[in-house]
């Protein structure tokens, strides 16, 4: 199974399709789960702590806003771990809970820069587009190695 990073990082559709076609999705939900269940100074543990912008320094410079660095402390390790990626652009939901255009830009840049296989798509809004979306994802995932590397 290949570890496939997804963007938007908490997408239901991408996460489901990757598992359905036999690979492992790298989504931010897993990172959040680990953070909020690990006992630390905060009680209950928080999903973002004042320490996180410091961890984010690995991915963004010190003059970059703390919000970007804090988010990158969650997303960055996923990109490091990724063996392939699917990026879906043009999502109306890129703001809202994901919240930060600069983080989104940096995430996409780091993914493309890593040199792993990347599939770039846009969200479907009609049946024909939906079919193309699913077929392209399945074709891309079929081209990735399925045996367990660990």
């Amino acid at each position: 199974m290949t570890k496939v990073f997804i963007y938007p990082t908490n997408s239901l559709i991408l996460s489901d399709l990757i598992e359905r076609f036999g690979h492992t999705p790298l989504a931010v939900m897993g990172e959040i789960h680990d953070k909020i269940t690990t006992i630390g100074i905060d009680s209950p543990p928080l999903n973002i702590t004042p320490e996180d912008p410091k961890h984010g320094l690995k991915y963004a410079a010190v003059e970059v806003p703390a919000g970007v660095r804090g988010r990158m402390s969650l997303i960055g390790p996923l990109i490091d771990e990724a063996e392939a990626a699917i990026i879906v652009d043009d999502a109306a939901i890129s703001f809202g809970c994901m919240g930060c255009a600069r983080t989104n830009e940096l995430t996409k840049f780091l993914t493309r820069d890593k040199g792993i296989p990347v599939l770039e798509l846009v969200y479907p809004y009609s049946d024909a587009e939906g079919k193309e979306f699913v077929y392209k994802i399945s074709e891309f995932l079929d081209s990735l190695p399925k045996e367990d590397r660990s």
């Binding site: 908490n10 559709i13 790298l26 897993g30 789960h33 939901i93 809970c97 009609s126 024909a128």
Partner: protein, 146 residues
């Protein structure tokens, strides 16, 4: 998704099916295991418990209508004080807008998965072209001179 240190897992089961209702999925889960917590929601169910049990139960639920039931992991367990609306004075929980947006696309994805299973060939998709600047200028000028 990799195994978590605490051994628990929360999964969101989103139902976009004409034949399966969230209550059907919940009943399927109740019948199969007692060691997990389930919360029924408007879009499906949330299942939380030991990782292997949750994975097994969710697989059973997806079998009810495999191309129209979608699953993703959730970071927070259901009813968690940090996310639950009951303790935050109402309003949608963080992340719901995104989920709702994607739920709107699930019928399209479900139909595409049906076609994929039936080996329906892919047709060329024609997307509307972007408006040319010259054409936009013509429209503006025609409006001004009217």
């Amino acid at each position: 998704m990799g195994a978590h240190e605490d051994g628990t897992l929360t999964k969101l089961v989103v139902i976009s099916s004409d034949s399966v209702l969230p209550i059907d999925a919940a009943l399927e889960i109740y019948e199969s295991e007692t060691n997990i917590t389930i919360k029924e929601t408007c879009f499906g169910t949330m299942v939380t418990g030991p990782e292997d049990v949750v994975n097994r139960v969710v697989k059973e639920v997806v079998k009810l209508d495999k191309n129209h039931i979608f699953v993703k992991e959730r970071g927070f367990p259901p009813g968690d004080d940090r996310r639950c609306r009951a303790g935050r004075g109402g309003g949608p929980r963080p992340g719901f807008h995104f989920l709702r947006n994607e739920i709107g696309m699930l019928p399209i994805i479900g139909k595409a998965l049906d076609d994929y299973d039936n080996n329906v060939p892919l047709e060329k998709v024609v997307r509307p072209e972007k408006l040319k600047v010259s054409h936009l200028k013509d429209i503006i000028e025609s409006e001004i001179t009217r």
